[in-house]
Symmetry: C2
Subunit: 479 residues, 2 copies
Amino acid sequence: MKELDCIFKPRSIAVIGASDTPRKWGRLMVERPLQTGYKGAIYPINPQKREILGLSAYPSVADVPGDIDLAVITTPSVTIPNILRECARKGIRGAVIITAGFAELGEEGRRLEEEMVDVAREGGIRFVGPNGMGIWSAAGHLSLCFHQAPKSGPMAFVSQSGTFGVAMARVATQKGYGLSKFISIGNQADLEAADYLEYLAGDEETKVIILYLEGLKDGRRFFEVAKRVVREKPIVVYKAGRSKAGARATMSHTASIAGSEKVFDGMCRQVGIIQVQEAFHLFEVAEALAQLPLPSGNRIAILGSGGQGVVGSDACSAFGLELPELDPDTARTISALLPAHAPRAKNPIDFAGSRRTALQEAEIIEKLLRLDYIDGVISNVPVSPQIWDPSLVVDINGDSLSEPVQIAVDGARLYASLPKKYGKPIICLRFGRLENDVMEQILGEGGGIPVYDTPEQCALAMSALFQYGTVRRKTAPEK
Amino acid sequence: MKELDCIFKPRSIAVIGASDTPRKWGRLMVERPLQTGYKGAIYPINPQKREILGLSAYPSVADVPGDIDLAVITTPSVTIPNILRECARKGIRGAVIITAGFAELGEEGRRLEEEMVDVAREGGIRFVGPNGMGIWSAAGHLSLCFHQAPKSGPMAFVSQSGTFGVAMARVATQKGYGLSKFISIGNQADLEAADYLEYLAGDEETKVIILYLEGLKDGRRFFEVAKRVVREKPIVVYKAGRSKAGARATMSHTASIAGSEKVFDGMCRQVGIIQVQEAFHLFEVAEALAQLPLPSGNRIAILGSGGQGVVGSDACSAFGLELPELDPDTARTISALLPAHAPRAKNPIDFAGSRRTALQEAEIIEKLLRLDYIDGVISNVPVSPQIWDPSLVVDINGDSLSEPVQIAVDGARLYASLPKKYGKPIICLRFGRLENDVMEQILGEGGGIPVYDTPEQCALAMSALFQYGTVRRKTAPEK
């Protein structure tokens, strides 16, 4: 059992400061794991209550009959050193400290935070927080944070901002991104970003680690750890507090010093961490990194209608990707597969506004992926059969599909098989729609092909794949 | 009546090449105006048919009994010069030419395009296209493009890309943005970007003009016209074809030469056109420009929870906005309005994760807007009463609202009144959600406060307001 398993895979938890008053953290911390189906024991700790939300409550952790892996603490800041002593005596090894009012408030809070850390170290307790918004761990269906379990998935999201981190995670969940972990790291008094990286590197559920950071406690250690971790898993970082006003805000927010952006950026490049420039790009980029084979170069082909190709080409160039011209043979072969009114095939390949079936697109994409000078393809989601006839029932797992639906589904499945077959990534644009449809579902589930709303997002995701491919080639062990 | 009213407010249209074959352009151009409630007469022209989609068809425009304002042409390219001659003889003054196969295909097509222009000029016909995807005009409920009428609204969207333009417009509509016009300008053989600018400057329904451009036919004239138009209405441009690969693609797409980006960017700055760096930003920025008072400077205050403020501050700085520190008196007054655990008020103002009602937020925002050193505020959508109790019925126009709903609605209405009251813009973040809610509806309808998904979009929209404010101050007539 790994050291932090007591936090992320606890067999039992005690909620210290448990309450049944609505909206209080002490209640939420009992409610959340119940709501998300946590299977271990939950022990509410409250000296005034015998029962909270139907669970037996205990005056202190010492009174709990069984072992406790994790303590969740919501009591006022001054009480916490003593509570940690009690936890240590009970043999508890992990804690999540929600309480705020430490280093982020100034000198007095800082002293209290230091005392708390000393007590924890002495007692052999590792803890998340303080001043965080809790955690989510898909492994144990354990939410100390969201009231609805996020979709389980390959992204571990480590956030130095609590409320904004939760807000981003909620939007990510609504957009269908899956989370293996969410960790609101708060002030990082004990466990800090580097510790979570180390733990997540070995976490089987996590394929990509994404971080919202405002500042590092120990920059040297962070980058040393990151350098080892990126050999196994991609790390994507959004660094906030870059501007003067932003840095001023981080100090009171998470008690962190933003530090020199140039040094931070330079270290990320050197170590192989992927940086994004907008906070929500974390998820968009992670989606591609979690699912697709890595391209061996930056040479991309784009398929799509006129403007989509132009905008996509511009975005690819801006992100350091190249669009090689097609050789004459390939141009000829592909031109023969385009509608009569389309211009001769170039890169980007212009469908001239025609709606293409999955099979028609797959045929062209396959020709592109066979080329040794094309490392990946950006295309768009092929037309769903429902576009022509919205009344068509498209239950892709149904036994008897109507003929047009069967053709579309078969085409999409072939399309979805291509990234694995050729070891090259395909990324799609959701063209002229906001919602997911059945074609998208087949591309995603069958082939890990991610779908984005804009050509710029497609190019960004492809560039992240290229960046991480370069990192992996550099760090691959010699054979 | 203005020259282009025959195109955008036609009393009658003839569809030349009308057909009843599904998916053919000749059918779509009859179907679309019927679907969107066009009130004028529609005359299908087809020598083989007596009736198309329930309408009397005619062998040629000469056979149509009434006057025709607009000809919509979908017949093969070679037929078009003669068709335009017939149109001229019938007294038709406007045309929308859908047909492709002109200058975008090379020399032969270019000659045909020139011939077509000569015939039109001689016959006194102005036309849109060729090689476009049609138009939408909210004034006449006239769609020669979308099968569902977009929401009517203040944005005129002029797009040099057909399919991609339509795709963007469809997504914009799904997101709730309202369009006064959509014009797929195609090859701009006759009417070009500058002509549409001139027309839209005088169009009462249009408050903001947005353009997706790949290249200009006559750059000098475009910028001359734009310079006049920006005194009345903001122009926002996304310029595609900036990269080598992108420029290559524009040539076969819309027969345009992308030109020097540096010159283009410099002219935009000089003339006062707002440029955006991602295509969909056109709509996001236009939303704010259409609805809000212009700030008289770039000094912004941000309200929100920790990370939101940090990310928002960074984004504001990146877009050239400043976050002045609060004077001690204001800091003290606002601190007293924050929850006890929140840090002392600075700019950004940190709510420390607390959920704020509309009234609580409005009280703080009002204090900020009164300051002479704050030109605008970025905040987030206040908490809907449904957050606490999803069963609450919130029919904001209903007679008897329950007390908590009434309080929330009153608060939101006060909030919504602030931009107009102080002549300063407020922009909100949709925090941790994807969907619009009742608070958002009141902010939008009551005060034109736009709501965005990310802090970066909020900052971008605010910076566009600042940019356009500067343009208007520079071009304001001396008094």
